[in-house]
């Protein structure tokens, strides 16, 4: 009995210690960011629509805007963010080495990128996947009509294997034409050396802009692989993970509730509890994230809701013109579904 009691006591002490340490660690990233007065975001440089800086050093893109949304939630100011460009093969190590607070860089949420790298993904901001670009002249409406095609793929990527799996499971044949760079692929396609280009859909839209006649080429609705892209953070800081996660969910919920950059000022007069909660007119969900009550309002005001941000950077209002597809809200034909803010 005595032993048992001792056991309980030491377990309790140990538990409390663990709690304390982990609590200490939890607050650290947000505290560091607040003390510094700005967020540091790891981004890519040169992906049109997602993350790119112009000659004056001004950043734009969907991934960049997500960083601005996090900065808005913390500081109420979208400009309090520094962008650190990082290469694909260095991004995860750089995050672990505290080179930035958050990685918002076209990163696929996969087992290896999360578990093997020892990181955490805060959500899926963009569902990408491998697709097909084909001339409209061929009048193809589905990838199932591509039997016997010559398909240009990038060497050393999963692209060819994905195409092979898809064609095999649909009892179709194809001839892979491999190149080292996307430029070579585009040239080969324009010289009719292949009928189809297969790569991630977001990349196909970007590359299509470089074709001689972009509008004569279509990107099929079929997506044959899963490339869920999202922001990643270090393990061991639950508060920071929650904050980043709920910035994304706040933007999604805002779109679902009809709160936009242009009407957010009137949202305080709304009678809908979900709207009032999100913008901080009722309750204080921001406090539990270590933020002010108007954290979500500031995101919408400064950056916009999810759909606005997506459309502006990569969708119908951008030169890329990517169809929303999977990234449409679940109520509107897509699979973007955010847990409720309550």
């Amino acid at each position: 009995m005595r032993f048992f009691q001792k056991g309980i006591t030491s377990a309790a002490v140990f538990g409390a210690l663990t709690l304390l340490t982990s609590f200490g660690a939890q607050a650290s990233t947000l505290d560091t960011v607040k003390q510094r007065g700005s967020l540091i975001c790891g981004v890519s440089n040169g992906i049109t629509g997602f993350s790119i800086s112009d000659e004056k050093g001004a950043w734009s893109g969907f991934d960049v805007d997500f960083c601005r949304a996090v900065a808005s939630a913390i500081f109420g100011d979208a400009t309090k963010v520094q962008f650190v460009p990082v290469k694909a093969d260095e991004r995860f190590a750089a995050l672990k080495e505290n080179k930035f607070d958050l990685l918002s860089r076209n990163s696929t949420w996969s087992f290896s990128n999360e578990v093997e790298q020892g990181l955490l993904f805060a959500g899926v901001t963009y569902y990408d996947g491998q697709g097909f670009l084909v001339s409209k002249k061929r009048k193809v409406t589905s990838a199932l009509e591509l039997d016997g095609s010559k398909i240009c793929v990038k060497n050393g990527t999963n692209s060819e294997a994905n195409v092979a799996d898809y064609f095999k499971s649909n009892r179709m044949k194809f001839e892979p034409i491999r190149f080292e760079t996307m430029k070579e692929i585009i040239d080969a396609y324009q010289a009719n050396k292949c009928d189809v280009i297969s790569s991630d859909v977001s990349q196909l839209y970007a590359e299509r802009l470089g074709l001689t006649k972009p509008n004569e080429n279509a990107i099929l609705a079929d997506v044959i692989s899963k490339e869920p892209l999202g922001p990643a953070v270090r393990q061991g800081d639950d508060q920071w993970l929650n904050l980043v996660k709920w910035v994304n969910y706040a933007m999604l919920n805002a779109e679902e509730l009809g709160i936009t950059k242009s009407n957010v000022a009137q949202a305080k007069q709304s009678q809908k509890p979900a709207v009032r909660r999100l913008i901080g007119a009722e309750g204080d969900i921001g406090k539990q994230l270590g933020l002010s009550p108007d954290w979500a309002l500031n995101i919408i005001k400064n950056v916009g809701n999810y759909g606005e941000t997506l459309e502006k950077n990569v969708g119908g209002k951008s030169k890329l013109g990517i169809a929303r597809g999977l990234n449409q809200l679940w109520t509107m034909g897509g699979i973007q579904y955010a847990p409720p803010l309550r």
């Binding site: 409406t141 609705a221 509730l257 009809g258 709160i259 809908k272 969708g315 169809a323 679940w330 034909g333």
Partner: protein, 218 residues
């Protein structure tokens, strides 16, 4: 009875008389004192393109060829609606014709003032090739040069085809103003370029279910 309902009923009556969707906007404007007869009311955020109808105008093939997102295309579309159903998302300016296997044919649309006033589930009750156009008196008052009647054909603001939505004054129709696709416009319901409305017309029979969704409001 709230004034809004009176206006709606009067508008309905006029529509019955003139039997056209384009009339609805003007009728509403006429009977709603707050709206006055000036559709160039920039304070209405839902109407972002102030353009009068241009009867007789025949757009070129280039103008009618939409590019980018509003071009007719097959897209991923997850829905519980059966293939063959029409789904309209007014906020995005898209009309979807549901296909099997999580696909839809997506058409770019222009949404008129009336298109924003209603959401619901209805059926297509009638189809018409090259519908005639009878501008209502209110519209003629505003644009006195408009014809009193215009037989269906190229240059007609109603466009090449019309699909009538049962139980409402609303319809899906063509247009001779392709530049209005993708916009909120001052008149009409759901307008498509003529090639698209013809494509849709050939694909959907009378009795087709139509679901119209508005964006959530605050």
């Amino acid at each position: 009875m709230p004034p809004a309902i009176i206006h709606k009923r009067m508008a309905m009556k006029i529509i019955n008389l003139h039997s056209l969707c384009l009339a609805a906007a003007a009728a509403w404007l006429f009977w709603n004192p707050a709206a006055k007869a000036d559709p160039a009311d920039a304070s209405d955020p839902q109407v972002d393109m102030q353009i009068d109808d241009q009867p007789g105008y025949q757009p070129s093939a280039e103008e009618e060829q939409l590019a980018g997102p509003f071009e007719r295309q097959i897209v991923f579309f997850r829905t519980t609606e059966a293939p063959g159903t029409i789904v309209v998302h007014t906020a995005d300016r898209y009309l979807y014709l549901v296909q099997p296997n999580n696909r839809a044919i997506r058409y770019g649309i222009g949404v008129g003032r009336d298109g924003f006033q209603w959401a619901g589930i209805r059926k297509i009750i009638q189809k018409q090739e090259w519908p005639d156009w009878r501008p209502p008196p209110e519209m003629i008052q505003r644009q006195p040069y408009l014809p009193r009647f215009m037989a269906g054909g190229p240059g007609n603001p109603m466009g090449a085809r019309a699909l009538y939505i049962g139980g409402t004054v609303y319809r899906i129709h063509g247009t001779n103003q392709p530049q209005t696709i993708g916009h909120a416009v001052s008149s009409g319901c759901f307008r498509l370029v003529n090639a698209d409305v013809t494509d849709l017309y050939d694909r959907v029979p009378v009795g087709t279910k139509i679901v119209v969704k508005q964006a959530a409001d605050l």
